[in-house]
């Protein structure tokens, strides 16, 4: 297989701590980093045999962080199986919840991971606790917005995770005036916190020398294909055309029919990882090469879209592009900034939706439609394009399920990014006996930029919890598979 040689003599690796680990391997000449996801669940198997109308609820258990995204995308796949089109009110309700999911997740990530990572560069500890002691104001933003959004979530879908909303062809409950009034007052509070966050980001991060230095670093670069939904040329999170642009920013794919994603996304399964390694299918599987790598998530979404709806979001998007020196955006540190753009976008879109009468009136479910054997749903989850692909029999029972999550898609890119930083790591280990703190920090930053959710990636993985701390360990092996260093 082009560009990939099996790595041998690595069997003695038995140390397992944490949920994911980075194994750096070298055969004496090449150095390669393998981001291993180690937990194992397999929702593809347990979906088979289920009543298809139960899948949105069953599959949302894949992840306790983005459970709504799985709930919604599963609903779209089931709509497609049953040939149904949800009424406007149902579609808007689902869209609204998707915005809340993305908003909530991005805020959590920015404050728990993104800000500490960037603001505390060079310090021994870069987590929320340290941020709390140094910048208590901004650190408390997450706690404030979290409790506000949690209340709204509980009100709309009954629970903060694994809630209930989607029925085939619609939703089980419509929102009321009171729901929206409460949401508007929540948003006003969240909006204030977000403005604090935006200002902090601008003053303390975007303008800092450290951030500019990171932007110039080659090991943070990622020149590959970007994929995401668009509506026209605009950023879209719930329903649109699946677009792929290449590393020069040229549009190479526009997929209208979700089921045709198989022409664009290929998946490879290797024996050293419980998550697959996806690639841009027309380019073929070139492992550990940017030439066939697909990137998804906030950064990729800003590459595929030309506009970001929302006044404040659009303004922030402009600033980001200026700082990056134009598009396509090809430095993974910009993921955090892209997240901020999307936070503003979500806020403004939710504000618009809460003004819509259509959210309050009309049918909730449309039962009409002709069932078919296969149905595919695609949404943009917080971390990127999320695909559920099901088949069923004539008793409306699932016979096959395939789930491709954003973290799975980014798995290839994460491996390549870490590979870029690995040569230096191995050099340091060989000469000094251990890597420098700067190099370890680089590894952490790369992983945190992508915001991997390993629960999603193997449908899956234990990591849910680690999403907040992104705990992993680095192991360096020589060509005989002996451990040179671990930390």
């Amino acid at each position: 297989m082009a560009g990939y040689r099996p790595i041998i003599a690595l069997d003695p690796v038995t140390l397992v701590e944490g949920v994911a680990r980075v194994v750096v391997v070298t055969d004496g000449r090449d150095v390669r980093a393998l981001y291993q996801i180690m937990e194992f669940r397999g929702f593809e198997k347990l979906a088979v045999g289920r009543h298809v109308e139960d899948l949105p609820k069953v599959m949302s258990a894949i992840c306790g962080f983005c459970s709504w995204s799985h709930h919604l995308v599963s609903g779209k796949a089931v709509d497609s199986l049953l040939g149904r089109r949800p009424p406007v009110r149902a579609r808007l309700t689902r869209t609204l919840l998707n915005y809340i999911q993305v908003l909530d997740s991005h805020l959590l990530h920015l404050t728990f991971i993104g800000l500490p990572d960037l603001v505390l560069w060079g310090e021994d500890r870069r987590d929320i606790v340290k941020l709390m002691s140094k910048n208590p104001g901004v650190a408390s933003i997450a706690l404030r917005t979290r409790s506000l959004l949690k209340k709204a979530e509980k009100r709309f879908v009954g629970k903060i995770q694994h809630g209930s909303l989607v029925l085939p062809g619609g939703v089980c409950r419509g929102l009321t005036e009171e729901d929206l009034a409460e949401l508007r007052s929540t948003l006003a509070e969240v909006g204030k916190a977000v403005e604090e966050l935006r200002r902090f980001f601008e003053e303390r991060i975007a303008r800092s020398g450290q951030f500019r230095r990171l932007l110039a670093r080659e090991d943070f670069s990622m020149r590959c294909y970007s994929m995401g939904l668009v509506r026209g040329d605009s950023l879209e999170l719930y329903d649109g055309t699946l677009r792929v642009v290449d590393s020069k920013g040229r549009v190479v794919e526009e997929v209208e029919d979700p089921a045709a994603y198989t022409n664009v996304v290929g998946e490879a399964l290797v024996s050293w990882n419980n998550a697959t390694l996806p690639y841009y299918k027309p380019a073929g599987p070139k492992f550990f090469s940017e030439e066939s790598t697909l990137m998804v998530g906030p950064l990729a979404r800003l590459n595929v879209a030309k506009e970001v709806p929302g006044e404040r979001a659009s303004e922030e998007y402009g600033k980001l592009i200026d700082a990056a020196g134009g598009k396509p955006l090809s430095n993974v540190v910009l993921y955090h900034w892209a997240r901020l753009v999307e936070v503003l976008h979500c806020l403004e879109m939710i504000e618009r939706l809460t003004e819509s009468r259509e959210l309050l009136e009309g049918e909730l479910v449309d039962l009409a439609g002709s069932p078919r054997s296969r149905g595919v749903g695609i949404v943009e989850a917080p971390r990127g394009t999320l695909i559920h692909d099901y088949s069923m029999d004539d008793r409306m029972v699932a016979t096959r399920a395939r789930v491709i999550t954003p973290t799975t898609i980014n798995n290839t890119a994460i491996n390549i990014s870490l590979g870029k930083a690995s040569a230096r790591l191995v050099e340091e280990v060989r000469s000094e006996g251990r890597p420098s703190p700067e190099t370890v920090a680089t590894f952490e930053s790369i992983i945190r930029s992508y915001d991997p959710c390993n629960s999603c990636a193997t449908h899956c993985v234990r990591v849910g919890s680690r999403e907040l701390s992104v705990s992993f360990r680095i192991v360096v092996l020589n060509e005989r598979g002996e451990v040179l260093w671990q930390g």
């Binding site: 198997k45 992840c63 009954g158 849910g464």
Partner: protein, 315 residues
């Protein structure tokens, strides 16, 4: 200060979020306990935690899907004075438990059969997957806190118990199953119009527009409320979605699927025996094409159905 550890097995993260979202209530608990391990919240290495001789309270989350999960669960449980099985994965296996009837090889093949390229032979090892199990299959916990994830009612009860334990050093009858000792149905806000529920037939959820406020069973929709322990404030029912049974059976050790099937037998078409015969009770029941997912979605690993299968396989 007592020592508290939160140890995840195979989790989705929902239980972590539920616990972490407790805010001030959690702060109250932490007046009594020092968190010696909780990967979500505390930057403390597992290796350091494993050096401790004992912990006072262990909160275990998630199921057991690899040898590593099992080894860790056993090792830390042996050191814990009070073991809490937290969340339905840990107590009953939950939705991932639907995979407990398959071997790890069968599960991996369901993924592998759908990819475009397979590369075998790399020797870099992964933790060995095992047949999926609940934490309670390995260890006998002192407190069982079901819910997917545990809801406010269960969380409040748990915090109260743990605070009382910290103050008195005592825990009453073990194991304690949290939630209220009644079915979710018994205090349902959708009081059925008649004292006796009559189910007019079976309607699958894709066939209906559920009415707000009316008993789901009376609409022909399967609702696990009668067979599920009251562990929440009717979260799903309040947003017009039938209970799917994430709280597990009313009593620990009983079989919620069998309870539900017995409930169905007593409410389905009971008002119209003659008509029922004509229309065919069996035909109505045949509409349920997924018995496991309908009745054992969260509890298959602990069910009699699972035990029968294991017996049949000679396991």
């Amino acid at each position: 200060m007592l020592r508290l550890a939160v140890v995840p097995g195979a989790v989705c993260g929902g239980c972590d979020v539920a616990l972490a979202s407790l805010g001030e209530k959690l702060a109250k608990l932490l007046e009594y306990y020092e968190v010696v391990y909780w990967p979500t919240a505390v930057d403390r290495k597992l290796s350091e935690f494993l050096k401790l001789d004992s912990v006072d309270v262990l909160i275990h989350m998630g199921g057991i899907s690899t040898e590593e999960d099992a080894r860790l669960a056993r090792e830390v449980s042996a050191k814990a004075r009070v073991k809490v099985s937290f969340g339905t994965c840990s107590v009953y296996g939950d939705i991932p438990g639907l995979n407990s009837i398959y071997s790890p090889a069968e599960i991996r093949e369901s993924i592998a059969s759908q990819v475009d390229v397979r590369v075998e032979g790399d020797a870099l090892s992964l933790p060995q997957p095992v047949n999926y199990a609940a934490y309670t299959d390995l260890v006998e916990p002192d407190i069982l806190a079901p819910g997917c994830p545990p809801d406010d009612k269960v969380l409040d009860q748990l915090l109260e118990l743990l605070i009382r334990y910290a103050e008195t050093g005592k825990l009453e009858a073990r194991p304690v199953l949290l939630g209220d000792p009644e079915s979710l149905c018994s205090r349902c806000p959708r009081n059925p119009k008649t004292t006796k529920i009559v189910m007019p037939g079976i309607r699958r959820l894709y066939e209906v527009r559920p009415e707000e406020g009316r008993c789901f069973l009376e609409q022909g929709i399967l609702c696990m409320g009668p067979a599920t322990r009251a562990i929440c404030d009717h979260s799903c029912i309040k947003v017009n979605y039938p209970c799917t049974g994430c709280g597990g059976p009313v009593e620990y050790g009983s079989d919620s699927g069998l309870s539900m099937i017995s409930t169905l037998a007593s409410v389905l078409l009971v008002d119209s025996e003659k008509v029922a015969l004509e229309r065919g009770l069996a035909r109505e029941l045949d509409k349920i094409r997924d018995v496991v997912g309908s009745f054992y979605r969260y509890t298959l690993r602990k069910s009699s159905a699972y035990r029968l299968r294991v017996l049949r396989r000679g396991g």
